[in-house]
Amino acid sequence: MAVPAIAAQTSSQRLLASTRRFSRWLTSTRVVLSLAMLAVMFVMVVIPLYKLVEITVTWQAHDLTRVPTAVEGEFTTFHWVRMLTGIIGKIYTYTPLQHSMTIAVGSTLLALVIGGSLAWLVVRTDMPGRKLVNQLAVLPYIMPSWTLAQAWLVFFKNRTTGGTPGVFEFLVGQAPPSWLSYGPVPIIICSALHYYTFFFLFVSAALISIDSNLEEAGDLMGASRWRILRKITMPLVLPAILSGVIMTFSKVMGTFGGPNILGLPIRYYTLATMIRGSLAAGEGGDAFVLAIVLILLAITTIYINQRLVGTRRSYETIGGRGFVAQASKLGKYKRAFQIAVIIFQILVIAVPIGLLLWNTLMLIDGNYSLSNFTLQHWIGAANTHYNSGEPGVLLNPKIWQTAWNSIKLSLFTAFFTALLGIILGYAIVKGRGTRLSKLVEQLAYIPYVIPGIAFGAVYIAMFARKLGPIPPLYGTFALLVIVSVSKHLPYSSRSGVSAMMQVGHELEEAGMVAGANVWQRFSRIIFPLTKSGFMSGFLMTFITTMRELSLIILLVTPATQLLASQTMFYTENGDAQMANVVILILIAIVVAGNFIIGRFSRGGSLRKGLGM
């Protein structure tokens, strides 16, 4: 059984051997894909971030008018000092920051209460009609985030800003106080009613996954109800709650629609609206300082969350194995709870849509007489008296173009997101445990910590000018696709990884042993086994892109107008009814999309698709 020794080698042989080993590593599929993804993410994420910082610390052309000694492109702390000190710091940075925080904290708490209670009622009680409640509970999230704000305005607006009376005034005969019409209170309520879905989904998933045996075990040992809740249920649900907190908090921090609709009329600025304001004023350097502040805030939130919950669990839903949990008996309050929930859901779904619809049927906003009823905003011919002379939405070629832009953007984004998902998933899963794989995964995670509006700002910073071989992309449709795909990177990577994980590695290895090359393994083994996951991911991305506003509001131009941004422009232009028609169309599209997803993948897809 003697095994001959391996012959000694000369140094040139050794060099040849290590060259071969290196080139084999370099040409292995996962490495090629990883490196390609690194390159893509470098351009799409790293350079823009770098540019953003760079612009805040160099003189911009715009500054020359203000500071004569400035030399364009030279280093300066001007923007930072200006934005962080003195009266300007207070107006442009600290006050908006305080407003953003107020809104974020308020919305998060309110959303927690609403989402948590709904989750408990649906998962853990014997309340009648829980199935329907469960399905309807996610609808507010599917609708565009500023739907409620728009509806709120229709109902509660008063005439402090010199407008027309709202429905409230029409019904009650007296205008609502300003704090109820505009500012933090309505913004918090509207955001919470949109984002409570996070808590609802996270907490219900956690509650479902808790084996009620655990609680029963506590019961048998004679622990009190309260003690069980505190010692067993809470620790298991806490990670879900914290995940909801971080998602909601960072989303609200970067949200644009609500604060723009409900805050601007009384000059209640948040960081998000202030960034847009500064950019519109040509103050790029200032706007980007605010964007960085926003990003740092988001990073801090996530960091704290991860310290509290641990890295992985923080954004992973706990696997949804269906234990038959013991339902809490609501007894005689059963009906009361059910009625309360029904009223709640009518208030957040049916009433806003009804208000918007009603509003679109009024020729002149605020005139509630029957003679004011019209279809002008839907199918009216162009009339210089209304809507700046634009014809009704359905006859408006501009809107058709806009709708087509939105659909095109959503399709492109969904396609590339799914494609990157496949590539990222493969590169990350096949390289599990290697540094390269970790690097790819971490880079793909970065857009998650950048609030939407800041991400848009980053892209202006990067693509407003020519950059190496890349022409200035500002104002092009391609830029909207790139920014949407980039923002979806974390979702791509997560859904790609989870889809790949489902395909056991030995299924591919069996293909390797059978002699199949990469393409054969992919097309005949991996893709067939993961396609349903990618399909629902595709549709999910379609929906989220369709109703995304914060991300693209800074990047659209008249030529690349989208439905989402169009509503905002109509609102700002005073054409509220037109805005509301467009929102209704948008809602119709996303709800239809969601219905199709449901057909495709029997529920659960939104839960998967939320980028959780």
């Binding site: 095994v3 020794a5 012959a7 042989q13 040849l16 080993r21 084999r24 390797m512 059978a514 199949a516």
Partner: protein, 360 residues
């Protein structure tokens, strides 16, 4: 179909964990070689390195005359070019393909004519006694049936070497016995060189031509089942192989042909061992007497465990405890006095320090 597999100085690390540590083996043509060891001993890694699913950090592998892996030369052929077949622990049948597609996958890649493929499907299903299952999806079959299909899938493209990674570990005891019979037959008929990974010593002993016992990435002994069982080359192998376990007793060589075990001395068949040793005695190599016998040592029966075909008796003398195995149902009662006799021919002597076999 006579392929030698030569493994030279193979090493493999995962981070700081050493999975393979300078393993060298020559697997002779048409043999059934089992890689045996506790979990984490590197046996599966070794198999995966041969298959080409893992690249070692050092060493060389030949399949037949073909150099399939060489660290010094920087060569590593992809699995598909190594002409070997692999059966996975969890079968790895492609869940979206019916049985016939699973089987023809490799053949399609080889661009085999349709007619020939259909013939192969039929043949290989026959070989595993699964005719008529062509149209089933994997999930529509039991674990045992899936295992057979996995075998058929490998047989269909007629690899020169069969690699099997704990193929029976997911089956229940009864099925496992049946499959052992089938696998041994299959190897007997095909004559393909086979490397079989298992942690089950009974499986290794019953099926192999040769067993490679591994521990912590190192090869401990590479020998026939007979040698492995009767002449384990070190204490680890002695202790790992055999059920009930071997008796390992500390002793001192007290003179020519005698080991002092403390309470008593036993005769041995060696003249050159000196100092501290460990004596290994298989439970079935101890003879029990129910009354005093010249040369036998008095013990007491601490526990008696009859199991039908044989019985295990735990005997005690002070601190010393011995396991004895006798055929049939033992009549000995617990706490009875018994007298044990040791056969110098069957004893193995190990060096206390190194644990290596000194004399047998």
């Amino acid at each position: 179909m006579s392929t030698t597999i030569t493994i030279k100085h193979l090493s493999k690390h995962f981070g700081t964990v050493v999975a393979l540590d300078d393993v060298s083996l020559v697997i002779e043509p048409e043999t059934f070689v089992t890689l045996l060891g506790p979990s984490g001993c590197g046996k599966t890694t070794l198999l995966r390195c041969v298959a080409g699913l893992e690249d070692p950090d050092g060493g060389e592998i030949y399949v037949g005359n073909k150099l399939v892996f060489s660290h010094p030369q920087g060569i590593s052929l992809p699995p598909g070019q190594r002409e070997l077949g692999l059966v996975f622990q969890n079968y790895a049948l492609w869940p979206h393909m019916k049985v016939d597609k699973n089987i023809t996958f490799a053949l399609e890649i080889q661009k085999m004519p349709k007619v020939e493929m259909q013939k192969r499907v039929k043949e290989s299903l026959q070989e595993v006694q699964m005719e008529g299952y062509e149209d089933r999806y994997p999930r529509e079959m039991s674990g045992g049936q899936q295992q057979r299909i996995a075998l058929a899938r490998m047989l269909a493209y007629r690899p020169k070497v069969f690699l099997m990674d704990e193929p029976l570990s997911n089956l229940d005891a009864r099925l496992r016995m049946d499959m052992r019979v089938e696998l041994k037959r299959l190897h007997h008929i095909s004559g393909a060189t086979t490397i079989y990974v298992t942690h089950d010593q009974v499986e290794a002993l019953t099926m192999s031509t040769t067993i490679a016992v591994m521990k912590e990435g190192r090869l401990q002994q590479f020998d026939t089942p007979d040698k492995i069982y009767h002449f384990p080359s070190n204490l680890f192998v002695a202790d790992f192989i055999g059920n009930p376990k071997v008796n390992l007793l500390d002793g001192v060589v007290s003179g020519k042909n005698s080991v002092d075990l403390g309470k008593f001395k036993i005769p041995i068949n060696t003249s050159y061992a000196t100092g501290k040793v460990v004596v290994g005695i298989r439970p079935e190599d101890i003879t029990i007497f129910e009354r005093p016998e010249p040369g036998a040592v008095e013990f007491s029966a601490y526990s008696v465990l009859p199991a039908g075909a044989d019985s295990t008796i735990i005997a005690r003398l002070g601190e010393m405890e011995l396991t004895i195995r006798v055929m049939g149902i033992s009549k000995i009662r617990m706490d009875e006095k018994i007298w044990l006799k040791f056969d110098p021919q069957t004893l193995n002597l190990y060096d206390k320090e190194s644990g290596l076999l000194i004399a047998s």
